[in-house]
């Protein structure tokens, strides 16, 4: 234990004593002095000079030292600036190794280091000469971080001084300097990364320095110096600074420069070469340079190579190959004295559009490849201002692009930026449709000739004028462009043909124009368009090439041969119905915003809103702020209208707003020669004349529409001998007189055969309050209706009457809804004109003819608030007594509220529907309510003992008793019954207005109604038919059961059937509901149907037919089967063995016959078969025993038996035999007898037959050709000729004065006339 204490004490003593000694050593400053002395020694040893230091401070705690005023003297005189000095050096140490006594310098800060290098004329320096032998290390520093601020490098070379402030900061500084006494040179190494050096002239650079340097007595050799910055690298090799008396620096260098570090730019620049620098006036650089993706000024992505040679006052660049997206340049350049430059080379494949976009930042649509020699020269300092001279002879070739205008040409130009001119030698440019040649100095005087066939070539420049085209035309300009570039002026002659402006074509335009930024003028302008010839000249001021409202204008225009329609259409007034041609002169002055116009026009032979005129003279003076006068004389045939007036435009108001005063008058003008009147009422005749004077204020409302406020009106207008559609409407005279604010109006007329007087007072105030009254007497209602109705309706007005009364109106003319008044008609009578004059007494039409409806008591109406109220309207007439009450509004809200109650003579129906013949009594109690566009009718209508017949129909309905109920838009038939054709008719159903259509359903039942068809055919049937649908489409469906068919004895079966094959002519069916009525009616015969006809007996038939198609085009389908019966065919009785008439064609009635007729004559049985369509039936025959056709004919026609030997020449020629078959037209048509056809055409003869019973008075039977014509139902005319002899003719007239007796007058071919009486009696 004690040993431990002793050891510890010994250790403490061992350590404490030295420690204490150290503390004492340090605290007493002995260490500092020691170190200071050591520093001085080392400095002197390493530099060879004399070192001095000022204060020295050492802080052992922070291991830092501070040295003030460090000076190292070289070999310079003592009074001179020392080799090195520094105001303060601050060092921080780090003990690297106590054992090796190694200390690292963590950081060194030097304030104001100054290095003074003096070079004498003999090349010696103030660097001390080392005397030691061998290589000795003078400096070997490794400083982690150093900082030298406010340094100064002084150099005295041959008596000339220079100084360079500098400072440096860096990390990891390694500096070593050795002295080689054998070579008497210093060798050093400097490395520092990073190193920031700041110096005057270069600013701050961040470098990585890596240099080897050798300093001899008169030479400095830097074997390698690598300097790196953020984006650049410099390597200097073999840098030799020799001959300090006249230092010359030579070196080889390579550099990769990032331009952005030093200036604005991008890309990279590699250069390598040699340099020799002796003085600013004696140096030489050679280098080869390559730039990639280089940006220079406006040019981007430039790649270039060049060779550089620089000497004082001259920099030469040769073998320049530069290319960018704009194009390529090959050539050379030189810069002299860093002031002037000269560029000489060739542009290749430069895209003009890109180049202009790059240089001028403008986008154009013309493009070309430019190539050719190019030179530029000037001062470098003037480049930015563009004060350079450049010239080139470039060839332009088209660029293949979709959206550009290709350019072709040759441009020889010289640009002088100083004078701001471009001088063109004879240059030309071709666009697709344009040739442009120019020469001269653009900016002074450039001569231009341009010809184009398509303005689209200039579309990029005149884009907004996109409504201007050449339509197979051309435009040319020959002139000059003078003046500076920023304010050129054009002058020349323009010629344009076939120019299209806003779809208006100009045949040609030419003129001399002069245009500049401030004005444009036209001289000797000429426009041709069709027959129009115009001359124009004038001047318009511009502001920066554009007209403004303040632009002054002075122009003259003479127009002749103008077609006004075309002219106004060109001016945009296509709707103005004004045509004619003539001449006009105009002079415009003032400004665009306030023009003054003087114009006169004489127009000939045109139309104004359809009114032809012979001449129209007009003079107009327009002054924006002054009065505008006009004087117009309109002449058309004998008509003259003169109008003068004055218009004062309200200052500041829109155009055409102001006050107008006028005086207009005419001579007597024929009304039917006034086109406007003729268009409205072509049948209006008479004379009219007017004279007026007045004033009005014209304004524009908020919508920009013109409104007129009448201020004054005096005058009169008269029309005399007014006729409308042949009806004399008398005369009328209107006068107006303004006193103060009141316009008094009087109208007298005897139109409509009435005496009409209207007088009123209209206040010329807002709203035009009016107080007027009118009286009329003896007014013809037909004439009045004709006046009101449209021309096409006028002819259908078939009522007339008279009325007398008075009307009083008060209110506002502008708002009719606020009008109030009253109408009193003490006398009113109306009657129909529809009844024909030959109506027999007691007939329905007689009732129409005698019907007159008149008032019972004065008719009184009042008007207030847009509602017309009926105070009293009581009408009476034969079997008619009806009262109307209620009111009717003329606004959407008011609507109808009318009631009518009373009895009406149904004969009135014919007045409204002339195709109907109506009669009977009707009681009505109805109300009409609802909106004007959707009235609601309610009420009840009853018909008693009525009758109705549709013209063209054989049947009408009589004894009609019906009741209809109206409810809103529906009318329901409560009951309807009547009689027709001896039968009964009952109808029920309804009709309703739905969605603009009439929907209806009518159920009709008839019982025992006889219908008459065709000639002599009548049918008695029962039916049940329903007609339902809408006014657009309806169906008539049901059943008809035929009980009896009666055929008139005089009817001919063949005619009936032949007529039935023709299209059915329905009785006057008009377009309307009936035309859209589809039919689906089943027609069948009752089991016991009877067929009554004298030509047939015991006919048994049944029909199963379907009536289809439409009412206007019905068709029949089905079949009529004839099971048995007998027919009489000219004295022969034929038995129907089988028979049918089929209707198979669904598109028309096309009966197909199939009838077998059998008869027996003189023991021979003959069967006739008629088959085929009714229009072309075929007749075939057979007999038993079999006979020749001629024999059958003879047998049937004459009763001659083929076996009878007594008759000579028994047979008749075949052609004759056909005609002798019988009286049937059917057969006649079947054999197509040509004689019958001709007779039919000329004489209307309808029958040809052979009459073997008729003989002449001699009684000998012969074969004769007979032509019959039924002249009247009682008289039959017959012409008979012997077919074998033309001279044998017989004329016979038979008069059947009753059913049994007839008288026959015969004139024979020999002239004898005989009278026979015939008695007929039938035995059943």
């Amino acid at each position: 234990m004690r040993r431990i204490y002793y050891a510890a004490a010994a250790l403490l003593l061992l350590l404490g004593v030295p420690a204490g000694v150290c503390v004492w050593y340090i605290e007493t400053g002995r260490l500092a002095a020691e170190v200071r002395a050591r520093i001085v020694t080392e400095l002197e040893r390493s530099t060879g000079g004399k070192a001095e230091i000022g204060a020295f401070h050492f802080d052992w705690r922070t291991i830092t030292a501070e040295v003030d005023h460090t000076v190292i003297h070289g070999t310079e005189p003592a009074s001179s600036i020392p080799l090195f000095s520094a105001d303060r050096i601050f060092i921080r140490f780090r003990i690297a190794s106590l054992v090796k006594r190694q200390i690292d310098l963590v950081s060194v800060s030097v304030e104001s280091p100054r290095v003074h290098l003096a070079v004498a004329e003999d090349g010696s320096t103030n660097i001390p000469d080392r005397r030691r032998s061998g290589v000795s290390s003078l400096l070997d520093l490794r400083i982690g971080r150093f900082d030298a601020r406010a340094g100064l490098l002084l150099a005295d070379v041959n008596g000339k001084s220079a100084s360079q402030p500098w400072s440096a900061r860096g990390h990891d500084l390694i500096v070593s300097l050795d002295y080689d006494s054998s070579g008497r040179q210093y060798r050093g190494f400097l490395s520092c990364a990073p190193l920031r050096v700041s110096a005057r002239g270069i600013g701050s650079m961040d470098l990585d320095a890596d240099t080897q340097i050798t300093i001899n007595r008169d030479r400095i050799l830097i074997s390698r110096a690598d300097l790196k910055s953020a984006g650049s690298e410099f390597r200097l090799t073999n840098v030799i600074i020799s001959n300090f008396a006249a230092p010359v620096v030579t070196a080889r260098y390579t550099a990769n420069i990032s331009p952005g570090e030093f200036a604005t730019g991008h890309g990279s620049l590699q250069t390598s070469g040699d340099l020799r620098f002796a003085s600013p006036s004696n140096y030489e650089f050679t280098a080869s340079a390559r730039a990639e993706h280089f940006s220079f000024g406006p040019f981007r992505n430039v790649s270039a190579t060049a060779s550089l040679h620089a000497v004082p006052d001259l920099i030469e660049l040769s073998n320049i190959h530069a290319s960018s997206i704009e194009g390529r340049f090959v050539g050379a350049a030189e810069v002299s004295k860093l002031q002037k430059f000269n560029l000489n080379g060739r542009l290749e494949h430069v895209q003009a559009r890109r180049a202009i976009e790059t240089l001028a930042h403008k986008s154009i649509e013309w493009d070309a490849w430019l190539s050719g020699p190019f030179r530029a020269s000037g001062r470098i300092a003037d480049i930015r201002q563009g004060h350079i001279v450049a010239n080139g002879r470039l060839t332009a070739t088209p660029v293949d692009c979709a959206r550009c205008v290709p350019v072709n040409g040759q441009i020889d130009a010289k640009f002088d930026g100083i004078t701001q001119t471009i001088e063109f030698s004879r240059s030309s440019i071709s666009l697709p449709s344009t040739q442009l040649t120019f020469s001269g100095v653009f900016g002074r005087n450039l001569t231009v000739e341009a010809n184009t066939r398509d303005l689209n070539d200039f579309r990029p420049a005149i884009g907004k004028w996109n409504q201007v085209f050449l339509k197979e035309g051309s435009a040319s300009f020959a002139g000059t462009v003078a003046g500076p570039l920023e304010d050129p002026s054009l002058a020349g002659h323009v010629t344009v043909t076939n120019l299209l402006i806003h779809d208006q074509k100009l045949d040609s335009f030419s003129g001399d124009i002069a245009a500049r930024r401030s004005s444009i003028s036209l001289a000797r302008g000429s426009v041709v368009q069709g027959t129009l010839r115009a001359r124009a000249s004038g001047t318009l001021a511009l502001s920066d090439w554009r007209p403004t409202n303040e632009s002054a204008i002075d122009a003259n225009l003479q127009v002749s041969g103008a077609d006004l329609k075309t002219l106004f259409a060109a001016a945009g007034a296509k709707d103005l119905e004004f045509s004619g041609s003539g001449r006009a002169d105009a002079h415009v002055a003032g400004t665009i915003g306030e023009p003054r116009l003087n114009a006169s026009a004489t127009l000939m032979r045109g139309t104004l809103y359809g009114q032809p005129y012979d001449s129209l003279n007009a003079r107009v003076q327009y002054q924006d702020s002054g009065a505008q006068l006009f004087n117009v004389v309109f002449a058309s045939a004998a008509k003259r209208v003169k109008m003068t007036g004055e218009f004062h435009h309200t200052p500041g108001a829109p155009p055409l707003a102001g006050e107008l005063s006028f005086n207009a008058q005419s001579n007597a003008m024929a009304l039917n020669q006034i086109a406007l009147i003729r268009a409205r009422q072509p049948d209006l005749h008479g004379l009219a004349q007017f004279h007026s004077e007045g004033a009005a204020r014209i304004r524009r409302n908020s919508a920009g529409e013109l409104t007129f406020d009448l201020l004054r009106l005096n005058g009169d207008a008269s029309a005399s001998r007014i006729e409308l559609a042949g009806r004399n409407l008398g005369d009328a005279r209107l006068s107006a007189d303004t006193k103060g604010d009141v316009l008094n109006v009087h109208l007298d007329s005897n139109a409509a055969q009435a005496s009409i007087h209207v007088s009123g007072a209209v206040s010329l105030a807002p709203g035009y309050p009016v107080n007027a009254s009118a009286t009329f007497s003896g007014a013809g209602l037909n004439a009045l209706a004709t006046l009101i109705a449209r021309p096409e309706q006028a002819g259908e007005i078939d009522f007339d009457g008279t009325a007398a009364g008075e009307v009083a109106v008060r209110g506002s003319l502008e708002d009719w809804r606020r009008l109030s008044g009253s109408i009193t008609v003490p006398q009113f009578e109306i009657y129909s004109l529809a009844a024909p004059g030959n109506c027999g007494e007691g007939s329905a039409c007689a009732g129409i003819r005698n019907f007159r409806l008149r008032n019972s008591g004065p008719l009184r109406f009042s008007l207030a608030g847009g509602i017309l109220s009926v105070e009293n309207a009581h009408f009476i007439g034969p079997q008619t007594d009806i009262k109307v009450s209620g009111n009717m509004g003329f606004t959407e809200r008011a609507g109808y509220n009318l009631r009518a109650e009373g009895d009406v003579n149904l004969a009135l129906g014919s007045t409204f529907a002339p195709e109907l013949e109506t009669g009977g009594d009707m009681h009505v109690n109805a109300a009409l309510r609802g909106a004007l566009n959707a009235p609601d009718l309610s009420g009840r209508m009853e018909i008693r003992n009525g009758s109705v017949r549709y013209s063209g129909f054989a049947n009408g309905i009589t004894s009609v008793n019906a009741a209809l109920v109206f409810n809103g838009s529906r009318a329901t038939i409560q009951n309807f019954s009547g009689e027709s054709g001896g039968g009964r008719v009952d109808v029920g159903g309804f009709a309703a207005l739905t969605g603009g259509l009439i929907a209806f359903r009518l159920d009709a039942k008839t019982t025992g109604v006889r219908l008459r068809f065709a000639e002599g055919v009548s049918v008695v049937s029962d039916s049940h038919v329903t007609v339902a649908g809408t006014s657009e489409r309806s169906e008539a469906a049901g059943t008809v059961l035929i009980h009896r068919v009666t055929i008139n004895p005089r009817a001919d079966f063949s005619s009936i059937f032949a007529r039935s094959a023709q299209p059915v002519k329905t009785p006057t069916v008009q377009a309307g509901i009936l035309s859209k009525l589809n039919l689906d009616v089943q027609i069948s015969t009752a089991p016991d149907v009877a067929l009554e006809t004298s030509v047939a007996q015991r006919i048994e038939a049944d029909a199963n037919l379907r009536l289809r198609g439409t009412a206007t085009n019905p068709t029949l389908l089905g079949r009529v089967n004839i099971t048995s019966g007998e027919l009489m065919f000219f004295g022969n009785k034929y038995t129907i063995t089988t028979g049918s008439v089929s209707f198979l064609n669904p598109s028309r009635i096309d009966p197909v016959l199939n009838v077998d007729l059998e008869t027996r004559a003189r023991g021979v049985e003959v069967i006739l078969t008629i088959a085929g369509p009714i229009t072309k039936p075929s007749v075939s025959y057979r007999s038993d025993p079999p006979l020749q056709f001629s024999d059958i004919v003879a047998l049937l026609a004459t009763g001659r038996s083929p076996y009878d030997p007594g008759l000579p020449g028994g047979t008749v020629g075949q052609q004759q035999a056909f005609a002798q078959l019988g009286a049937s037209q059917l057969i006649g048509e079947a054999i197509q007898n040509p004689a019958s056809g001709r007779l039919q055409r000329f004489f209307g003869v309808s029958k040809v037959k052979i009459d073997p019973q008729l003989t002449d008075v001699t009684g000998s039977p012969e074969s004769r050709l007979t032509i019959e014509q039924q002249v009247t139902p009682d008289i039959l005319f017959t012409y008979i000729t012997d077919v074998s002899s033309t001279s044998t003719q017989l004329i016979q007239v038979e008069w059947a004065f009753n059913r049994n007796w007839s008288a026959i007058v015969t004139r024979e071919e020999n002239g004898y006339v005989g009278l026979d009486f015939a008695y007929r009696k039938r035995f059943r």
């Binding site: 529906r970 929907a999 359903r1001 649908g1029 809408t1030 169906e1035 589809n1078």
Partner: protein
């Protein structure tokens, strides 16, 4: 004789194939077996059920086809407007809207049908509705009394007021009466038309 025997012998292996058969004739129109078959398939497809080719189903299909033919004939004669050819694809497209053309085609194939079959059937249905609306519906009159009666009969206990249901009731009555008119019309026409059942099983 010998030649005839040879032909007879040759005919034995060459048995004919019946492609189709007329099942019913009505007037100048016919209904074939294939049409009945297709009618069954179409109805089953549109109802989403399995086709039933039993006799009862065939009778029903035949009856429907008779009605269809009568209406077609009437539309032809009466010039009623049918569905234009260029409008038919739109019908089909509307039908396929939810399922898509591919899915519908696939399902049709399951039923042995083609898209044209479905398209034509849709057109026929539209034509029938057109015929109904043009021929019978306008003739139907619905009075206020009818509406009130219907309301009392069906909606007496309902909270809905008459005015709220008026439109629907009028439409329902109109449709019902138009249908009744159509049924009567079909009945009349069946009686008038000569219908011959060549396939006796189909006779009602």
């Amino acid at each position: 004789m010998r030649a005839g025997l040879v032909f007879a012998l040759l005919a034995i292996p060459c048995a004919g194939v019946i492609v189709d058969r007329i099942a019913i004739s009505l007037g100048t129109q016919v209904i074939t077996d294939s049409e009945i078959d297709q009618r069954i398939r179409l109805s089953a497809f549109e109802n989403g059920v399995t086709p039933d080719f039993s006799l009862a189903s065939r009778k029903l299909a035949a009856s429907r086809l008779i009605d269809e033919k009568l209406v077609e004939h009437e539309m032809t004669i009466g010039r009623y407007p049918g569905t234009p050819e260029d409008k038919k694809p739109a019908l089909l497209a509307a039908y396929e809207k939810n399922r898509g053309p591919a899915e519908v085609t696939r399902q049709l194939a399951v039923y042995g049908l083609a898209r044209e079959d479905l398209m034509n059937d849709l057109a026929r249905q539209q034509d029938l509705l057109t015929f109904l609306s043009l021929r019978f519906r306008p003739a139907v009159q619905v009075s206020e009394q009818d509406v009130q009666n219907y309301y009392r009969q069906h909606f007496a206990e309902s909270k809905l007021q008459l005015n709220e249901l008026r439109g629907a009731i009028e439409k329902k009555i109109t449709d019902d009466r138009a249908d009744a008119e159509l049924d009567q019309w079909l009945k009349d026409h069946r009686e008038r038309t000569r219908i011959t059942y060549l396939e006796k099983d189909l006779e009602p």
